[in-house]
Structure formats: structure tokens, C-alpha cells
Amino acid sequence: MADEELELLKGTLDVLVLKALTWGPRHGYAVARWIGDATGDALQVEEGALYHALHRLERRRWLDGEWGVSDSGRRAKYYTLTRLGRDQLVVKTAAWTRYAEAIFAALRTA
């Protein structure tokens, strides 16, 4: 994978992870499922990369990680959006929308 593509993918993953958590704390598996469902499994990405993104965002203090107990009674790590993360989601959503619209507009002309 080329570097720009990787960066693009990282950016995509980050914003999707943030979005996935807007409805409250979730563990990684739930985040993965939400992204799969929401994008109709269009995003062909290793799930390891998703976890990598979760940990990266936790380090940036956009997320807070906390161990809890899952519905099935197992120990799982839950992620919560911090205030910082919430702010970032707003910023990134706006940037993504602008970007996608620009590309879309460009591809429409011809």
C-alpha cells in the first residue's frame, strides 16, 4: 500500500471510529461491526488496523479506554469519546464532507 493511500485510510478509519463512538462507549468489536454495517462492508480493511486506530486515538486523548464487562459477561475494553474527540469529529466531518464534495464535483464534470 502506498504511503498516501495509507494516510488516507488512516484518516478515514479515524473519523469512522470517532463517529462509531458518538452513541456511547463501545468495545472494538462493536466499533468494527458498526463500521461494517454503516458502510455496507465497502471498506476492505484488516480489523487489526481498526484496533491500531483505536489505540492511536486513545494516546491522542480523543478516546478514553476502560475495561468493563461485555453483555456476554466477558472482560472487554470499552472506548469512550472524550470532549477533545468530539471536537475532532466535528472538524474532521466538515473536512471530509468538503473533500468528498470536491472530488465528487470534479468527477461529475466531463
Binding site: E47, A49, R59, S72
Partner: protein, 892 residues
């Protein structure tokens, strides 16, 4: 799922330890894989296939795990770092708040520390300026000096002779350059006012030996070091700016009229350069020794020598080789050197600071002691403060704080105190150093270069931190050792904590008293030395004598006759001034240097290998001995009739008479100077008392005087005995000199007492400082014992109340408390006497007439200290007798 709010989580600092990170990552991934597998099974996959598919979708599991772990470790590390800073900030805030709440305690501690650290900083800045800054030459550690050394003459050291210099330069193989120099005091004319300058005449290799080149132009060339080509000068940066207006074109094109001769300015030295021996020198000109000077007169010791060791030669090896070389020289020239004459070499660095080094190190040690005593006091205060916090500590322990968390704020408080005290001390030191530099005492060379620079500040910071750690340890240790369990009970004090604290406090007081006693002994020994020294008669009457120097420029006073005529005219005029009792002149008055030379004694049987007689040599005026009130023991002194036409005469001191004519009458005997093949004989007409020429402590050389009308001298120092205040006559003296010749400058105006004072200046300075330091130490130690006893009385008020209630008399209570206090004092005195006995040796080189273990000093000081400490104990003891049993028993 239960979650703690973010703020609470941060407050409790939930940071995963390193080893848990890998486990957590593994658990997280395992959970995901299981969930995924179940999801796939639910969609109809077989278990094995589902598991494999889950793994495939995750990617390289091991690689992702490692990546996640790395991120988490980074996060933990930065969290820990932030946590540490937050802890520190919190501890400091907490400490500051606590200190603000007890302003009295804080003020006392900061003041104590400021005094201690300030004194250390000030003394260290002198050490830094004098001992640590390197000399301004290339590889200064390879530069040495060679001196003539006479072990049997009380270790007398003398400069070298010109002929000796030639031997050391040409016949040794351990040097990369040998140079000699002598002072030069030319008068500059032809530019505004005539000015006396300070300079040096230097031999050809002078600048190359020092390894310093000119900043502008060039230094002196070796081929200029001979008569006829030596009318060139190199000037200092300061001279260039002051006299030559700092103009680069002045070099090479300017001539200076010095003593009436034209000198070409060939170079300017860089700003930091200075002459090692003649600190004020601004001009350097070739010495131009004559071939005759270089081959005869081996004991005419008048040149300062500097040599550069070859790279492979250590100073020790040079010393050994020169000592062997000296033996060789004595065999080669048996009549030139005394049997115990030898050569001694010292590195320039050591030579420059050798005199001051022991003084400074002793002073540094002394201020160190003062600071230690201060530390002990502060530690005691902190211990009392920590005891007051037993309850707080117990609560924190009960709430689960570990020992480190409990003592950390205590330590932080100590460090804050130390740093604040250090800052205040730096301020004090800066003020003190400025005042000292303004005084510019002659006994500390380089005092005017003193400043608090980066090195000094680093020292202060280090001292503050060490100090803080030292006294901060006391409360920490006490708390650490304490069994907290009892602390929570209402009003109870942990008995073991109390006992531990009391032991530490007592040990500290004993140490304080011991340190103070050691300092007091040092100060006592110095005081005794200085007063002994000042009690010594210099051999003449120094009161009400003004001294000044008159130099005749060689260009206008070419012949002996002209020189003699000048002084013949000047001296009676000075003597006739109102307020002048008598006047005498000497080529070099006592306490201001001098010359030595060898001479012959008629009829003295010279045994094989015995050297010529040798001693201190001065040329004086008729009436000199009467003017200075040097006792005339036999015969007569010089009179105006002892002129150039009269038979040559000499006056000798009692030492010379005793040594060479122990049984016979010296009057009429003859002494002489060899001049080539013949000898110039002089008849001894008088014997005078021995004069301390260079210093009060020791001057074993025999002394020989000649009258100036028979010698011819271009420089004389006048000693004017006055009826009243000597300096009041200065104006009249100036005009007297001017009335004889308007162009003759006078210089070095001082009273005789100032000259003597300067010779004891260094001892006096260190005595003064030691006295001040030990006074501070005494005060601090007294405060220390007072504090400990007062605290103990306050702590025991209940016990004392019970005793009184049970019928103990107040007198009994008083003696009990006093006895306990004095036990500490006597313990401290005993330890201190031992320490002083071991350490006072270090002072030996500065003592005079007092052995380092002088019993009288030790005894006096011990009594003084015990007395002051007893007073400090009395106050709390009296308070103990006033304890009201009822109040004391109700207190708890």
C-alpha cells in the same frame, strides 16, 4: 458498565504498569476474535473455519498486537511523566502554602540558610577567582618558576641571578624556553604630564615561553635582547587604549620617550594578558643582560624566572633534575654557592596561589562548618515541625499512602526552603563580593576581578541542593522510622517517634557544638598569632613615619656625582620642613623588598667548599638609623663626612657581627665586594640592631649597609619621621622635591605602619574572617541548644508538672534540666576538642608563635563555648521551673 468520571480517574492516577500492557492487548484481541468467530458461526460457518476466517480478517495478529502495545507503552510513559510533574508541582504548592502559614519558622530557616549559603558562595567566588581560573598563558600547567632555595635559612627563597639564569637555560634539557624579568619603572615624558609607568624588562624568550603572541604588531625578538638594539617596547592593551588612544596605526610608527630615551612601540598584547610577577606591568622591553652579567655574580639574586617544561617532563621530574643540577653547579663553582643552596621549582599556578591556597581552603572549610551548623539547626526545627504533624501523617498512612508518599511532601518542603535560602544567599554573596572587590585588599591578588559568575552560581545551586538534602533527611528519617499506629489516638504522640526524634535532635546539637568549637579554636589560634606577630618589634620605631619613593631618571642623572648631589640637596630640605623630626633614605626601606649580595670578610678563613658570606644589602643616608630609631649598638652611624672622597665605610647589623666576629670588636674590621680580580674594602664603623626587612615573622639574613654618597643610587625611599600625623606632610614633601627638581616624580607614598600592616594583611584577613565565621557558628550553636532544650521542656511540661505536684522543688527541676542540657554541651565540647586537635594542623602554615594544639587556646575556647551554651540552656530550664502543675495536667 460502571465508569468513573474523567476527573476522578486522573486524580487517582490510574496508569497501567508496563507488564499489564501486553496482557491487556492480548485480552482485547482475543475478545475480538472470539466475538467474530461466534458471529461467523451464527452465520453458519463451521467452528474451525470461522476461527480461521476471524484471524484472516484481523490481519497479522502478532504484528498488530506489537503495534498496539507500542502505542500503549508510549501513552503510559507520557502519562507517568505528566504525573511526576504534577506531583512535583503539587508538592511544591503544598510546601509553599505550609511555609506561608508559619512565617516565623520560614523566616528563621531562610535567614539561617541565606547566611550559611551566602558565606559559602562568597568564599567560593574568591576560590574561583584566585585558584580555579587558569593563568592567561598557553598551557599554563607546563609553566614553572625556578628559585634559589636555602633550607637552613628558614626556607628562604630568592630570585635567580643573571649568571644562574644562563646556566639553567643553557645547561639543562628539560625546558622548552626559559625567560627572566625584572621590574622597570620608567618615567614617560613628552606627552602631557610626566608619568611613572610600571613595566618589566624581559629576556629574549619571554613571550615565546609564555606562549602568548601580540594582538597587534609583534612581540619582542630574541635578537633585540642586547644593548644597542633594545629600544623597543610591547605595550598592554590597557596602555594602548589609555595612552595611544587605541589606534592600530600607533604600532610601528610611534615612539615613546621613556626616561629620556626613544622607544619604538612594536606591539600590543591581547586584553587578558598580564605579567605574572608584576601584575601592573604595562610595558615590556628587552632586558639586554651584558655578557659580564651572564657569567659572574651567581648570588646577585634579582631576576624572576619563568620556564616552560617540555611536554614529557612533569613538574616533579623537573624538580628532581634541578636539585641534581644544583649539586652539579655547586661542585663546578664551589666558591659561588652556599653549601645548602639549592634550586627549587614550582608551577606558576601554585606559585601564584601557593600563599593563598591554604588560607582559602581553611576559610572554605570554615564556612562549610558554619553551613553545617545552620543545617543542624534547620533540621532540628524541621524535626519539631514534623513531630507536630504525626497526626496528619497517621491519617495519610491510614488512608493507604505508602511511606514514600508520606515523606515526599516533607522532603519537598526542605528543598523549597533550601532553594529559597540559596537564592537569598546568592544575593547576600553578590553584595558581599562587590563590597570586597571595592576594598581591593592587597593581600588577595585578583580581588578586583571577583564576580559571581556561572561557575559560582552552579556552586550555590549545588550547595543549596546538598544542604536541602542534608537537613531534609532528618524529618524524613524520623517519619520513616515512626510506627504510625498510635498517631490517630486523640492527643497521643507516638512514643517511639518521640524517642527517635529526641535522639536525632540531641545528636545534632552535639555535632553543632563540636563544629562551633572547632571553628572557635581556629579563630583563637589566628587571633593569638596575629597579636603575637604585632607584638614583635620590627627592629625600629614605625610610628609617625611617612615613606615615599624618589626615582631619578637615568638619562638626566648619568653619574653617581649627579645622583648624590640631588639627594644631598633634597634630604636637608626635607629635614628642615616644619613638622619633620628626622629624615632617612634607603634604597629599599623595610617591608618593601630588597636585594641580597655576597661579600667578603677580611681575615675570614675560608674552608674548602665554604661559600662567600651573603646577606641583605642596602644603601642608606647619613642619619638613617637615627631617623628610623634603629638602635646603634656600637661605634657610629654614617655622617655627611662619609662622602665619595672619604675612606669607604660600612655599618653591619648585630647578626653579621656575631656571625663573623663572635669574639672580637667589629669596629675597624673590613668587609668587601669583589670586583673582578680586586676587592673593594669598607671599614665597619658601626653595629646596629637587626631589622625585620621583609616580614615580622622571620628574617634570618645578616644585614650590611653602605652610605649613599660612596655608592651612587638612582632610587631612594625616604622615611620621614613627623611630629604629628604623617600624611599631613605630603604636600610639603612634594613641593620640597619639586623645589630641587620639578621633573622628579614621587611614588609609593605610605606610612611605615601601612607597610607593616600590608605584610600581615593576609593573616589578619583570615583571622578576621575566621572570627566572624566562628562568631556566627557560636550564635547558631547557642540557638541550637536553646531550641532543643526549650522544645524538650515544652514537650515534657506534663511530666514536669507531675514532678512538681509530687513535691519536686523548683531548684531540683532547674538542676535536672540544666544537667541534661550541659550533658549535651559537654559531649559536643569533647567531640569538638578532638576534631580541633585533628584539624588545627591545617592552619599551621598561617600560625605564628602558637603551636596548632595550643592548650591555652583550646581551654579558653572550650570554656567560652560551654559558658555561652550554659546561658542558652538556662532560659528553658528556668521556664521548666515555672510549669504550673494544674495547667500542665489539664493540658491533655
Amino acid at each position: 458498565m460502571a465508569r468513573l468520571p474523567e476527573g476522578v480517574r486522573r486524580a487517582f492516577q490510574v496508569v497501567a504498569p508496563e507488564r499489564r500492557i501486553a496482557d491487556d492487548v492480548e485480552d482485547e484481541v482475543a475478545f475480538h476474535l472470539e466475538m467474530k468467530t461466534e458471529e461467523l458461526i451464527a452465520r453458519g460457518w463451521g467452528r474451525e473455519a470461522a476461527r480461521a476466517e476471524a484471524m484472516r480478517r484481523f490481519g497479522n495478529v502478532e504484528q498488530w498486537r506489537v503495534a498496539m502495545g507500542e502505542i500503549d507503552r508510549g501513552r503510559t510513559r507520557s502519562a507517568r511523566r505528566a504525573e511526576r510533574w504534577q506531583d512535583l508541582a503539587r508538592d511544591v504548592r503544598y510546601a509553599l502554602r505550609g511555609l506561608r502559614r508559619t512565617p516565623g519558622f520560614t523566616a528563621v530557616v531562610v535567614l539561617t540558610l541565606a547566611l550559611g549559603i551566602g558565606a559559602n558562595t562568597a568564599v567560593f567566588s574568591v576560590v574561583n577567582a584566585v585558584l580555579l581560573r587558569p593563568l592567561p598563558y598557553r598551557e599554563p600547567e607546563r609553566l614553572v618558576t625556578i628559585e634559589h632555595y636555602y633550607p637552613s635559612l628558614n626556607g628562604l627563597q630568592a630570585p635567580v641571578s643573571a649568571a644562574g639564569f644562563a646556566d639553567y637555560r643553557d645547561r639543562t634539557r628539560i625546558f622548552d624556553g626559559v625567560a627572566v624579568e625584572s621590574p622597570w619603572r620608567p618615567t614617560l615624558t613628552g606627552r602631557s604630564e610626566p608619568e611613572r609607568l610600571a613595566g618589566a624588562r624581559v629576556s629574549g624568550q619571554y613571550f615565546s615561553t609564555l606562549g602568548v603572541g601580540a594582538a597587534i604588531g609583534r612581540t619582542l625578538r630574541p635578537d633585540e635582547d642586547e644593548a644597542g638594539r633594545n629600544r623597543v617596547v610591547v605595550v598592554s592593551d590597557g596602555f594602548w587604549r589609555r595612552v595611544l588612544a587605541g589606534s592600530p596605526s600607533a604600532v610601528g610608527g610611534t615612539t615613546l620617550l621613556l626616561d629620556g630615551e626613544q622607544y619604538d612601540v612594536v606591539g600590543v598584547m591581547p586584553p587578558g594578558f598580564r605579567d605574572f610577577y608584576f601584575r601592573d606591568a604595562e610595558l615590556w622591553t628587552p632586558l639586554a643582560l651584558s655578557p659580564e652579567q651572564l657569567t659572574s655574580g651567581f648570588t646577585n639574586e634579582w631576576l624572576q624566572l619563568t620556564a616552560r617544561l617540555k611536554p614529557a617532563v612533569t613538574p616533579e621530574r623537573a624538580g628532581a633534575e634541578l636539585a641534581a643540577f644544583a649539586e652539579q653547579l655547586k661542585r663546578d663553582r664551589p666558591d659561588a654557592y652556599m653549601p645548602d643552596w639549592t634550586l627549587r621549582t614550582t608551577t606558576l599556578t601554585e606559585r601564584g596561589t601557593g600563599r593563598l591556597r591554604p588560607t582559602l581552603l581553611v576559610l572554605l572549610g570554615a564556612v562549610g562548618f558554619v553551613l553545617l551548623i545552620g543545617c543542624a539547626n534547620v533540621a532540628n526545627l524541621l524535626l519539631a515541625r514534623a513531630s507536630g504533624r504525626t497526626g496528619e501523617v497517621a491519617v495519610r498512612t491510614a488512608l493507604g499512602a505508602d511511606r514514600w508518599q508520606v515523606v515526599r511532601p516533607l522532603f519537598a518542603e526542605s528543598m523549597v526552603l533550601a532553594l529559597v535560602g540559596g537564592a537569598a544567599g546568592l544575593l547576600l554573596a553578590e553584595l558581599g563580593v562587590r563590597a570586597f572587590a571595592k576594598l581591593d585588599p592587597a593581600s588577595v591578588p585578583g580581588a578586583r576581578d571577583l564576580r559571581v559568575d556561572g561557575v559560582v552560581m552552579a556552586f550555590t545551586l549545588l550547595v543549596s541542593l546538598v544542604t536541602g538534602a542534608l537537613f531534609g533527611l532528618a524529618p524524613v528519617l524520623q517519619t520513616w522510622r515512626t510506627n504510625f499506629s498510635g498517631g490517630l489516638r486523640e492527643g497521643a504522640r507516638g512514643a517511639s517517634a518521640d524517642r527517635a526524634g529526641r535522639d536525632v535532635r540531641r545528636a545534632l546539637v552535639v555535632a553543632e557544638i563540636a563544629l562551633a568549637l572547632t571553628l572557635l579554636v581556629g579563630a583563637g589560634l589566628m587571633i593569638k598569632s596575629v597579636s603575637r606577630l604585632q607584638g614583635i618589634s620590627p627592629g625600629f620605631e614605625p610610628r609617625n613615619v611617612l615613606t615615599l619613593r624618589v626615582d631619578l631618571p637615568a638619562t638626566r642623572f648619568r653619574s653617581d656625582t649627579q645622583q648624590v648631589a640631588f639627594f644631598d640637596e633634597l634630604l636637608p630640605r626635607v629635614a628642615a620642613l616644619p613638622g619633620v623630626r628626622a629624615v632617612g633614605a634607603n634604597t629599599s626601606l623595610p617591608f618593601g623588598g630588597g636585594t641580597t649580595r655576597s661579600f667578603q670578610v677580611e681575615g675570614l678563613e675560608m674552608t674548602e667548599g665554604q661559600p662567600e658570606p651573603w646577606g641583605d644589602f642596602r644603601v642608606v643616608s647619613p642619619g638613617y638609623f637615627a631617623a628610623l630609631r634603629v638602635p646603634l649598638l656600637r661605634g657610629r652611624e654614617f655622617t655627611p663626612r662619609d662622602d665619595a672622597g672619604a675612606p669607604r665605610v660600612a655599618v653591619v647589623d648585630e647578626e653579621l657581627a656575631r656571625r663573623y666576629w663572635p669574639a672580637a670588636d667589629p669596629i675597624g674590621k673590613r668587609v668587601g665586594f669583589s670586583q673582578g680580580d680586586s676587592t673593594m674594602w669598607m671599614q665597619v664603623v658601626g653595629v646596629v640592631g637587626h631589622v625585620k626587612q621583609e616580614g615580622l615573622d622571620a628574617d634570618p639574613r645578616v644585614q650590611l649597609y653602605l652610605p649613599y654618597p660612596q655608592e651612587g643610587v638612582s632610587t631612594m625611599e625616604l622615611a620621614v619621621r613627623t611630629a604629628g600625623e604623617p600624611t599631613a606632610l605630603l604636600g610639603a614633601l612634594r613641593s620640597a622635591v619639586r623645589s630641587v627638581d620639578a621633573e622628579i616624580p614621587i611614588s609609593r607614598v605610605r606610612t611605615m605602619e601601612q607597610r607593616i600592616e600590608a605584610s600581615v594583611g593576609q593573616r589578619r584577613l583570615s583571622m578576621l574572617l575566621l572570627t566572624v565565621f566562628s562568631a556566627i557558628a557560636l550564635a547558631l550553636a547557642s540557638i541550637g541548644i536553646y531550641g532543643v532544650m526549650a522544645y524538650s521542656v515544652a514537650q515534657r511540661s506534663r511530666e514536669l508538672g507531675v514532678r512538681i505536684a509530687l513535691g519536686a522543688t523548683r531548684r531540683g527541676v532547674l538542676t535536672m534540666v540544666l544537667r541534661q542540657g550541659m550533658a549535651l554541651v559537654l559531649g559536643g565540647v569533647a567531640v569538638g576538642l578532638l576534631a580541633a586537635w585533628a584539624l588545627s594542623r591545617l592552619l599551621a602554615s598561617q600560625l605564628y608563635g602558637v603551636p596548632p594544639t595550643d592548650a591555652a587556646t583550646f581551654g579558653t575556647v572550650a570554656l567560652l563555648l560551654a559558658g555561652v551554651a550554659a546561658l542558652a540552656t538556662t532560659l528553658p530550664a528556668v521556664r521548666a521551673t515555672r510549669v504550673d502543675p494544674v495547667t500542665a495536667l489539664r493540658q491533655e
